[in-house]
Symmetry: C2
Subunit: 119 residues, 2 copies
């Protein structure tokens, strides 16, 4: 049991769309990620996802609207809902989701990350 | 689906040791709480708990040592481990834990909160 410093962990990587695992509890994982640009439309059949914005401004696009998520705000995307994260400028965020949740959900492409590093 | 602003939610209450629910996903809850002073020694038989410090400095006492958790740091307390949160000055924090986790765990006393408000 130790304290985990978010800023220290964020300083350990700089690539985008490549989440790192920084904690696990109750079958869930805490991840950190940096985003820039547009991700791919996808959904998760069985997992709800929480996106907590640590730095920057995230636009979460849904098929019928877009929700802006500012620093120190979070959004929960329920399972089954198509979404596309967009970061016009770089965004740092914390994710909270079930262990093994695939970043691209039901879509497999060059952005899919199968084995996430632990920091 | 909407963005949840942590600071706005924190401004809606001022009492200590009385967590509010601000999100739910995958059978887990996101809670906000303000702490001041010493809590009670307790443990949770079946739930791991994550404490993320938003403001202030938390001391998490274990039977064999104390871990300091500063702003923008978190600590995960595994199920079964006795702990006592201590806040010498007021601490604001975010909790991630399974829905229904009782704040005082295996101890029932005047600090126990059975029905948490949702904000």
């Amino acid at each position: 049991m130790q304290s985990i410093n978010i800023k220290n962990k964020l300083s350990l990587f700089s690539d985008h769309w490549n989440p790192r695992i920084v904690g696990e509890l109750n079958g869930q994982q805490v991840k950190l990620a940096k985003l820039k640009g547009e991700f791919v439309w996808h959904k998760h059949e069985n997992e709800d996802e929480l996106f907590y914005v640590l730095k920057g401004k995230l636009k979460m696009e849904f098929r019928d609207r877009t929700v802006e998520v500012a620093e120190n705000e979070f959004i929960i995307v329920p399972r089954g809902v198509e979404h596309k994260p967009v970061a016009e400028e770089e965004v740092s965020l914390m994710l909270f989701e079930p262990a093994g949740t695939l970043n691209t959900g039901n879509v497999l492409n060059e952005l899919t990350k199968n084995d996430l590093d632990k920091l």
